[in-house]
Amino acid sequence: MKAENLRIVFSPTVYENRRRHPEEFVEIAREIRRDIIKMLVLAGSGHSGGPLGTADIHAVLFFGGYLRYRPKDPWWSGRDRYVLSAGHLCPVLYSTLARAGFFPIEELRTLRKYGSRLQGHPGRDMGLPGIETSTASLGQGISIAVGMALSDKWLDKNDRRVFALTGDGELQEGSVWEAAMAAAHYRLDNLCWIVDNNDCQIDGRVHDVMSIYPLDKKFEAFGFTVLHCDGHNYAELMACFDQFLENHRRGIGKPTAIIAHTKMGRGVSFMEDDYRWHGKPPTPEQALRALQELEDPYIAVVETTET
């Protein structure tokens, strides 16, 4: 089977960013997961595991009223900023931004294609609304987020907040800890550092490839307030983000780290918690199965005329 043999339809649903009941995120996150599978099978390359594993985090952050933004005025000067330091997870960000109304949902079809604004890793040069910075050389995005938070807190002295997400394998990059040092040194309580802790990287389990543990003790030693959550539990995610906003409001003078315990490939049974899904897309057959599991209302096999 080829991708052309699948009927790939992106639903037109756009979601509001507002306070929600945890149950409301179930459908939003499922929609994002469907988008990810569809984008990747159409692209024929890309990362599946991480984007699926962080769909719940993105759903809560962007549609739960935590990140302040205006999709029709993407560079609004009062916006909070989100930096996806683990740039290879970009399919989840592209889907989230499209579902928030930053750009047409149909554009998700163009992932990784020549001339697309949806580059294989986020590129600011393409001018895609909502992409604050190019990322993907691991470790750099979090330092950029520190620079943004530094500017907001100590130069512009405004109430903007900076959210950044790193992978856990990414924490093996030494410069990440330079960023941690600086965030604590400058008392950046406007910085929320989310760690996608799925313990998976391309070569295997993070604790086998090069252990980063104990993670909470490391962040605490660097001067962070550390929060834990099940990265797929909406109530727990909300509690963490609420706590960060409270930390910022109170001006505790410490950055916040949220260690989100996640499963790579979450939501698709045959991908879940399997590091081999880090960097590959589903085949059309696998995409069909995945979209059926995700209750996609459109998916079907169609006949194409071979030439």
Binding site: R124, D125, I144, S151
Partner: protein, 334 residues
Amino acid sequence: MPEFQLLGHRPTRQGFGEGLVVLGERYDNVVVLGGDITESVMTSFFRDRFPDRFFSIGVAEQNATTIAVGLALSGKIPFFASYGTFCAFRNADQLRISVCYNNVNVKIGGGHAGISVGPDGATHQALEDIAIIRSLPNMTLVVPCDYMETKKATIAIGEIWGPAYVRFGRANVPWFTTEETPFRLGRAEVFRDGSDVAIIACGAMVWQALLAADMLAKRGIRARVINNHTIKPMDIETIVTAARECGAVVTAEEHQIHGGMGSAVAEVLAKNCPVPIELVGVRDTFGGSGDPEELMEKFGLTWKEIYTAALIAMERRDKGSAGVRRVTDPYRTH
């Protein structure tokens, strides 16, 4: 044509430090990041004058470079300065992706460039930074010739939009340009006219080029001396015109011959006006400890090498490649 006389000796890093203060006075969004060697690269002038706009990042060049990106994405004009060995190499990936691919308004001051760093030795002598920096898309690269020009160049890169790198040194070197000496980013300046041979130099080698031209004049050879301070984007017109009118070219820089300013000139001339080119620079070796002037002699970075190279280039022009072997150059390896 400007006439030059020696005004004294000053380090180019002083021009960088003073230029930052001028920028700080003009623009309240200019900020400076320190990498623990603020006295050494003279960002301390800015720190003492504008303490609220100076952030110490410590010995962490990768982080400083990317924090600068975050500041630039927040509407600031951040300068990060360190030794060229650390702020063009240690952070090369950050420069490539986060600064240049992102195309943000980050400025880098690369100090302690060249062999004239002196006693600190090879580890601290940036001799390959031009090669790295000029290979990056979206980047502007300036190598000013003395204290005054470094001050002007620092102000100039602060006033253009986009990634930029200014290269300067540690040692006291001849100071010979004034407020009135023409300087415009992206335009090579003819510092001395002539049409027998063109000497294209940057940094401290511009003064040596002027000395070489004086010595050549004693033999009746009129050398054109060009201060090619902006290596990227290069002033192709001035370079090609010089090659066409002189027919022989010498380049001189305090940097490896491989990938440096001379290589950039050769790239331009190979396409537009192929003429014999002799490259004066460090010949694929590391530096070492010593007094700055002693090292410049040992590593072949004085007017003498430029003088010899000019004679070789002219002979190659006049007699074809057969003429090359007749002039003895003990350092000649290529």
